[in-house]
Amino acid sequence: MWEQIRSNQIRSVILVAAMAVLLLLIGYFLGVAFMDNGIGGLVIAFVIWAVMNLIAFFQGDSILLALSRARKIKRDDHPRLYNIVEEMKIASGLEKMPDIYIIDDPALNAFATGRGPKRAAVAVTSGLLQKLNRDELQGVIAHEVSHIKNRDVLLMALCGVLLGTIVILAWYATHLLFFGSMFGGRRSSSSGGGQAQLIILAVGIVLMILAPIIAQLIYFAISRKREYLADASSALYTRYPDGLASALEKIAGSTTQLKSANKASAPMYIINPFRKKGRAATDLTSTHPPISERVRILRSMAGGASFADYNNAFRGVHKGGKGIISASAIASAGAVGLRAAEQEDAMRETEPGKVERSRQVSDLMWQLNNYRTITCDCGTKLKVPPKLKKSSVKCPHCGRINNI
């Protein structure tokens, strides 16, 4: 398990370094084009990147949670969700319990954020809480917790910042170049080597156009790899790959799109919040592998729940190839058995059913919006808005007057 994290970190660092080189190249060409000084541009690009990194590192999680309008909950607000997160915290050996947030949205999705295992948060939509049973929710939470455990959260945040900086710089550069040539050419016409300069400029323009695309592809590649690893870890932690598989099927079946997602936060969700129907299976331009493929891999893990089993299943689905998980990681862990579904022990009957689940969640959402709940004598629950001035409300069901 720990081997996997390390070997993946090395590979990711190489990819991130490639993106950083891209950024610095852009900075250099910008410098050459506008200031007659490549190094100056390089320094400026580096400073912008550094500042954005610092913001992402210290405030990234708060910004993301605020943008998605997530609400922090306590243990008593939703004991089942809290318990499941705690179970996965234990299974993964995380040092600290992550904060738990709920997003009031009928779409089915979840994400993890935070700087590292010591400061992390898991957010799920209220739709997810309503639609998934315990096993499925556990699979999803395990996936998110493994993003935290594998330090994907920070990595993807830093990658996202890098990508953002490249896109912004390239955008300004192409626009400035365009307008610059319209309004009387570049200032650097004084310098001598005309031919060499022209070549540098040409290379620069090509770079400006290609850099954002290349950076994006690298970013997607890193993100997809991380998703597979998180799925594998989820199977390992829960010992029950079918839970996540069936959750993914439910999520895929739902057509509601998340309202508050944005491009930067996309890789953190359990599925791509911007997915469109009918995308090709080997799509290079997505942060997530196709759900159907993820489900097929998880479903074909018949022999056990270890990384080796996931790797075999991955190769089975892809018809050979070298797999997705490094050999050292597979070698370091022993065989891992699967567990039975909770349902096989008739969990389903005792677990709150769909209706009960929905009611619990919607009650919770009212409560988080500061509505007060009054139970009328006829059994109806009245939700009283916080701004109500009146001292009593009439029950719409039976007509009794209830005092607040």
């Binding site: 398990m1 720990w2 004991p79 089942r80 318990n83 499941i84 705690e86 179970e87 996965m88 234990i90 299974a91 993964s92 050996g93 315990r134 932690y237 010992r239 370091s332 862990a333 022993g334 567990r339 039975a340 909770e342 022990d345 008739a346 969990m347 009957e349 005792t350 709150p352």
Partner: protein
């Protein structure tokens, strides 16, 4: 002169290797200890839940005095077994699991109990505690495997032998016991 440098270089490399391996052994051993503490926390949580469960069930189950007493006794035994070593403790806990699952089997005959709000909340807590126990056991065994590998494999086994790192015990649950281990499903 060159020979001296080479010797110094080798000594430095050996020292680095020695301290590096020693530190990672310490880290792995601490992880095993922490994982064990985690199991204890969860077992204690289960012990704490049981009086509550018995109390709630008593009101509804007038004819199951023996079953309830068996659970209480098994719990007391398990509580006494805390700190007596991995083997003894896992045995006592298995006994408790057995008693619990027998209780949960008869709950089926008491629909009123099954429907009570108090019992539903308890049930979620028990289900989750059972899960937490098995997840902490899972993590403990993973940690032990990692640690034991390090103490047995060459070359780290030399340093482990020199500095007194001994292999740890797995939390073994025999297959039969695992079967009874309560999947808390109050049906």
């Amino acid at each position: 002169m060159i020979a001296v440098y080479i010797i110094i270089g080798i000594v430095v490399i050996l020292l680095f290797f020695f301290f590096g391996t020693y530190n990672s052994l310490v880290r792995l051993r601490n992880r095993v200890k922490n994982a064990w503490a985690q199991i204890d926390v969860q077992l204690k949580r289960r012990h704490d839940l049981i009086p509550n469960l018995v109390e709630t069930a008593k009101g509804y189950m007038r004819h199951e005095r023996e079953t309830l007493e068996a659970v209480t006794n098994a719990r007391n035994l398990a509580q006494k077994a805390i700190g007596t070593g991995v083997g003894a403790q896992s045995q006592a806990e298995a006994g408790l699991s057995g008693a619990l699952s027998r209780l949960l089997a008869v709950v089926e005959n008491y629909p009123d109990l099954k429907a009570s709000q108090n019992f539903l909340a308890l049930q979620e807590e028990l289900t989750s505690t059972e899960n937490k126990i098995s997840f902490s056991r899972q993590f403990y065994n993973d940690s032990v495997l990692n640690y034991n590998n390090k103490t047995h494999m060459f070359p780290s086994n030399i340093i482990a032998g020199m500095t007194g790192f001994k292999a740890s015990e797995f939390f073994e649950v025999t297959v039969a016991e695992e079967r009874i281990a309560p999947k808390v499903s109050f049906t």
